[in-house]
């Protein structure tokens, strides 16, 4: 809907220009020192920001620039042209270098306009409170942050929705997580502004140094996190190299696990732990003899015992490493079985994660072609999961997975496989075997 987006860009620009002109006529000249000094800091913050939460829609993010705009409002609070000054400082937030380089003037006008109007709204609210201290000042700061957020979201929400051709609800679902930041960063910005007003430029220097170090720390954190993610990916590649016929298995198990976790209402932190645990669920395979892992046909009891012992040892060895300890619990057969013998000191959260991964693992094992059996139909896999719910599988997890897959209209299993390997000997239509530890329960 480019015409709607263009109309919104133009409207934001015209509205902001009108408001600024009207304020200039009625309230006199702004504080140019604040406009230039805070404006420059705002632009720097906008262009050298570190995303703490990266919004999925690629266009909606909240940066420290907002905090500095709010600080400028507190600094000029008592000036007659406080609202105008705030609007002009806010406009600097729209000067985003990548958009300037791309000559995306529509986006620049839109952003300068909507940021100026948002700052204007915050300044009007903040200056309407007459209290100069105490709790009323905090209430004024919160109200100003809310005013900024309301105007900002009312412009950005339709803009992003029209730009990406998405429904408003979908965009809001992505944006709402950053809403609390309006309050915390806005409140902090106004308080910092009050400190600056009282103490002068020294306060800015003393605040800027920790903030700069904080920014460096956050960006270093992002780099380290990225390196960690790549290391985990390499780990998964090494696990899958043990059993080349199950490539893509860990990613699918992680995806199904997230389906179940989201349906059961796990929070973001637990979902991330669940995802990593699901990716690592076959970690014990690393210590299992390859000749047994890739053996076509059923394992002998002796071979089965070797596989179990090596798998458990592999998990136990890696469990010595702190960050893998909880994942090892999720990966263990002991905790994956619903009627298994989970130790009483194992946290309930981890036991639930183990149940989730066990269901996801079994579903993928049944709906994928393996050396010993072609993929089963989705309905057959459902039936098998339901049949074993309450004994092998946690019935809540089984119901959740089936519900989500049906609601999403996704199809897996025979006729719908993505990764189909070329086997030297075509797998039989049905059967049991040894490939992949996830199938061992079914193989018994």
């Amino acid at each position: 809907m480019p015409h709607k987006r263009r109309a919104l860009e133009t409207s934001a620009g015209i509205a902001a220009a009108t408001v600024v002109t009207a304020l200039a006529v009625t309230s006199g000249a702004p504080s140019w020192v604040v406009v230039v000094s805070f404006g420059a800091m705002v632009m720097l913050a906008e262009n050298f920001d570190v995303l703490i939460h990266r919004a999925g829609m690629g266009g909606a993010s909240l940066t420290p620039g907002f905090m500095l705009t709010m600080a400028s409002i507190a600094v000029v609070r008592d000036d007659s042209a406080a609202v105008l000054t705030a609007a002009l400082v806010g406009a600097w937030e729209g000067l985003y270098l990548p958009q300037i380089r791309q000559r995306d003037f529509g986006a620049i006008i839109f952003n300068c306009g909507q940021f100026a109007l948002s700052s204007c709204a915050a300044a009007i609210v903040f200056t309407s409170f007459t209290a100069t201290g105490g709790w009323m000042l905090v209430v004024a700061a919160i109200a100003a942050a809310i005013a900024y957020g309301l105007v900002n979201v009312s412009f950005v929400l339709p803009f992003v929705a029209w730009k990406h051709n998405e429904r408003f609800g979908v965009v809001w679902a992505d944006m709402y997580r950053s809403v609390p930041n309006y309050l915390s960063w806005g409140l902090l910005g106004l308080l910092i502004g009050l400190v600056c007003k009282e103490l002068g430029p020294l306060a800015i220097v003393l605040l800027a140094i920790p903030m700069g170090i904080g920014r460096w720390t956050f960006s270093s954190f992002n780099r380290v996190k990225e390196a960690h993610d790549k290391s985990v990916q390499l780990f998964i590649r090494l696990i899958e190299a043990k059993d080349p016929y199950t490539a893509g298995h860990t990613e699918r198990v992680a995806q199904y696990s997230l389906y179940i976790g989201e349906e059961l209402g796990l929070n973001a932190n637990r979902l991330e732990h669940l995802r990593q645990s699901a990716l690592m669920h076959d970690v014990g395979k690393l210590a299992v003899p390859s000749r047994l892992l890739n053996k076509p046909g059923k394992l002998t009891p002796e071979e089965w015992d070797v596989v179990k012992r090596h798998n458990t040892a592999g998990i136990d060895i890696l469990a010595n490493i702190d960050f893998m300890r909880t994942m090892a619990v999720v990966a263990s057969d002991e905790h994956g079985r619903y009627d298994g013998s989970s130790r009483t000191d194992t946290p309930a959260d981890l036991v639930l994660e183990a149940h989730i991964v066990a269901v996801a693992d079994a579903f993928d094992a049944m709906t994928s072609t393996r050396a010993y059996r072609k993929a089963l139909a989705q309905e057959v896999a459902y039936e098998e999961l339901r049949k074993n719910a309450g004994s092998q599988f946690n019935p809540v997890c089984v119901d959740a997975l089936i519900k989500v897959i049906d609601e999403r209209g996704e199809r897996y299993g025979a006729g719908f496989e993505v990764n189909v390997h070329q086997f030297a000997t075509p797998p039989p239509e049905a059967g049991v075997g040894s490939a992949g530890l996830g199938d061992l329960e079914l193989a018994q």
Binding site: L188, L194, W216, T217, L234, L286, R291, H310, D316, I317
Partner: protein, 421 residues
């Protein structure tokens, strides 16, 4: 009480009584509110800010700087004395005894540094001393004393840890000065506002430290993969990394170089692992080939190109190579020494002799010399390395890990033992 050994109840009671008396005395002799300041400084000892590369700095440095800047000298001395005592008692209830001794002595040194610096400023400045000068002086005093105490009280000469703590110190010093200036200009209420950015700082350092730990552990886990596959002795990467860390410290490497050599040492067997079809590879793999393959794996995964280059340059696990850089020499000396010693501490002398004799270039000779020095001066070096590897070996007792890749690995053989499975 969660101490490592039960402290005599009488000692704890005596310390608690002394701390209480000190705070009461501070309240009686000083200005109103001095006792509250002492309590805040005491509690600050219990709130650490994590340094991303190890260690902590107490958040209490902030109120300490502010208190020394704002209070009269004798009042400030009484407040800090009471705070250190009270903080020690509080710590005794939460931490092992050796931690308490270390943390309290560091805190006491910081307090002494702050007081000493303010007195020095008093001597140097003619007339009334501006509060800001006191605050800056106190910050420098705290910083210098804490760095010295951290270095000597712990018995560690880890320059890397000392340098790494500087950003945290700088942040806390700025916050301390800001709090002092804010209280002086506006009042105590503004101190809370001025200290607010500290929460963000603490949060960001904490997250960074957590992420660094996790990355380190992921690399540790990756280093174990060839061992789980029977391509290297279990515990080899962990022991080698222990030697590499000690060598990096001994040779004065900076943080980035230390991380690089530890990572490369941990992953030097990565190239022995197949990433494609295992069945097609059954020939022995030479150290250079293993290093090149490992570097390729790292580059393909998008991991550090510098570590990949170091793997190739190091050609670890072979005595027959020239080290083009000191970092490469450290990786090779660490890995080779462990290859020769393994979990047998008695083999350390033979290992040292072989490593030294085979050092043909200047870098290798320097690294081997550093190892000789370390083994001579740090008696527990080899024992600690063996203990680090042992925790992984315990879980595999009774298992034949060589069978994992069909017995093609030669765990325990002298170089080159690695074969592609």
């Amino acid at each position: 009480m969660t101490t490592d050994r039960q402290l005599p109840a009488a000692l704890v009671a005596a310390l608690a009584a002394l701390a209480s008396a000190a705070i009461v005395l501070t309240a009686m002799l000083g200005e109103p509110g001095d006792a509250a300041v002492a309590a805040v400084v005491a509690v600050g000892l219990l709130v650490p800010v994590r340094v991303p590369w190890g260690g902590t700095v107490p958040m209490g440095n902030v109120p300490m700087i502010a208190a020394v800047s704002l209070l009269a000298h004798w009042n400030a001395a009484a407040v800090l004395g009471a705070a250190v005592l009270a903080g020690t008692v509080l710590l005794l209830c939460r931490r092992p005894r050796h931690d308490v001794v270390y943390a309290s002595s560091r805190y006491a040194a910081s307090a002494a540094g702050a007081m000493g610096a303010v007195l020095l400023v008093d001597l140097l400045v003619v007339g009334d001393v501006p509060m800001l000068a006191n605050a800056v002086g106190a910050s420098v005093g705290v910083l210098a004393a804490d760095l010295l105490a951290a270095r000597f009280a712990s018995g560690s000469h880890d320059r890397l840890a000392t340098r790494s703590a500087l950003p945290v110190h700088l942040t806390l010093a700025c916050a301390g000065i800001l709090v002092a200036v804010a209280v002086d200009a506006v009042g105590v209420a503004m101190a809370l506002v001025a200290a607010f950015p500290l929460l963000i700082t603490r949060f960001s350092f904490d997250r960074y430290a957590g992420a660094t730990d996790t990355l380190d552990q992921t690399v540790q886990a990756l280093g174990l993969v060839p061992e789980l596959a029977g391509l290297a002795p279990l515990g080899h990467s962990e022991r080698s990394a222990h030697y590499a860390r000690a060598l990096a410290r001994e040779l004065g490497f900076d943080r980035a170089a230390t991380t690089r050599v530890i990572t490369a040492t941990r992953l030097h067997h990565l190239g022995a692992l197949p990433l494609e079809n295992e069945e097609s590879q059954d020939e022995a793999i030479a150290p250079f080939e293993m290093a090149a393959h490992g570097a390729r794996v790292l580059r393909d995964a998008g991991l550090s190109a510098e570590v990949a280059d170091l793997l190739v340059a190091a050609r670890a696990d072979t005595l027959d190579a020239i080290a083009p850089t000191l970092e490469a020499a450290v990786v090779r000396v660490a890995a080779t020494f462990d290859e020769l010693v393994g979990d047998d501490a008695d083999a350390a002398d033979r290992g040292l002799a072989l490593v030294s004799a085979s050092a043909r270039d200047a870098h290798s000779r320097r690294a081997a010399g550093a190892l000789l020095e370390l083994v001579a001066t740090e008696e527990s070096l080899v024992a600690d390395a063996i203990a680090a590897g042992d925790r992984f070996r315990e879980a595999a007792v009774g298992l034949d890990l060589e069978s994992v890749t069909g017995g093609r690995g030669g765990a325990g053989e002298l170089l080159p033992f690695t074969r592609r499975g």
